[in-house]
Symmetry: C2
């Protein structure tokens, strides 16, 4: 039987330690094929390169591990892998390991998450995997059994169509366990840091801090993450707010429709 | 009573005809404040400028209409408006009018949609408004009564917290009516067009065509749009797939949690 084929991308770029940590954790479980951005692409969400051409470069090809870099976004990397670079459809798609958590609404901004969402659009079981360890030389060893458990689950049982996983592990050497949680709600504060250019014009760096609307809600990914648990949040492609249909139909749709 | 304050951004850039068409449609309903990208930013999704500084420029300030351009992404524009540029919190947030539809899963890639999602994160009633007319000199006149109806609804009744609207109007001079529809599912095909650089290396433009998985599903936004209706799809911030919790808990979580 052919070994499973595991596609990996990330948003910290092809040089990131988290990428190699993830390769190392899953290479015993299947052949690994990486298409990762050629530099850092944090906060790129599902962006695609609509206005610039995209190039690929083969970085490494050895027994069981192939690594390409791509000049595009994380989402471009997945699209490029499926259509141009992969030898066949992968069995699963993984994003990560991201240096930094992608809990709560931050999944919407995350390039790591976009890898999983794009895989999900293409009907392949997909997960984004993030760690609270931000440092470029972070030690991700504690994640190994968790990641292997998740990947084994995905390879043997799959995931429901239209559903992918957002996995967030706190910056600890030991976890209290795994919790299946909902996406937390919240917002960013002090989002722009103003500076002045030598020619005296103002510019801004995006910055600030995220605060959950309800930090005590024990059902959110943020709560689990902040309290030492691995938070697994299943996310669905279909963002339709079905609960809003009735009111909108009554108020917006004329009777003759 | 103070006039409503309407924040507008887009992803086609501050020069786009669709932006000025939208300003013209809503300026009788409130004061208009625009913060739009300084050039085209299609397919930027919820991307933020994590790695580059962002600048703003005042383009125009007249009675009831203020226009800023911003060097960042559509999502940056909304964040910049709320924290730096707006005189007060807006009453509603609008993205558009986009030159091109954002039906179905394409909402995930859309910069126009990101304007509405970011407004929704900030708890302001928000909508993305797109037309099937792609041309830079498209005529959006048929949309006027539809847009005014939606904006009036948002200003008087608001929207449920965590829900924003994705509005897609077909490229026609007359619509059959308005339908409240779900987000369609589908995927892109022939996504990369290969070319060769004068120095003989390959590069790729993103391209291709979108095809719905089920074109006959009359409950999708794509079906309504393709059949001459204005499709309004309420989208929710919370992407949690609650239906997947039970299986994941049984399979992934140890009993001692």
């Amino acid at each position: 039987m052919a070994r499973p084929l595991i596609l990996i991308s990330n948003d910290d770029g092809v040089q990131a330690k988290g990428l190699y940590a993830l390769i190392d954790m899953v290479r015993d479980l299947g052949d690994v094929f990486v298409v990762a951005p050629d530099g850092a692409r944090s906060g790129m969400s599902m962006a695609i390169s609509a206005h610039t051409p995209v190039r690929n470069k083969l970085i490494k090809k050895e027994e069981g591990v192939t690594i390409w870099s791509c000049s595009g976004t994380p989402d471009d990397c997945v699209k490029m892998a499926f259509e141009v670079l992969l030898p066949r459809r992968p069995d699963i798609v993984l994003g990560g390991i991201n240096h930094g958590n992608n809990c709560a609404i931050n999944a919407h901004y995350s390039g790591t998450m976009s890898v999983a969402i794009e895989g999900c659009i293409k009907k392949v079981p997909s997960a984004a995997i993030s760690s609270g360890y931000l440092s470029p030389d972070a030690n991700f060893d504690a994640m190994r059994p968790v990641v292997q458990k998740i990947v084994n689950h995905m390879l043997t049982k799959g995931l429901p169509e239209g559903v992918c996983l957002n996995v967030n592990t706190p910056p600890r050497d030991e976890f209290k366990g795994i919790k299946i949680q909902k996406m937390g709600m919240g917002d960013w504060h002090d989002e722009w840091q103003e500076s002045t250019h030598p020619h005296n014009w103002k510019y801004y760096w995006i910055a600030g801090y995220y605060a959950p609307f309800d930090p005590n809600d024990e059902t959110t990914d943020t709560w689990a993450y902040e309290n030492g648990y691995v938070a697994i949040t299943p996310l669905q492609l279909d963002m339709t707010a079905y609960s809003a249909f009735k009111d909108l139909r009554e108020l917006m749709v004329d009777n003759d429709n």
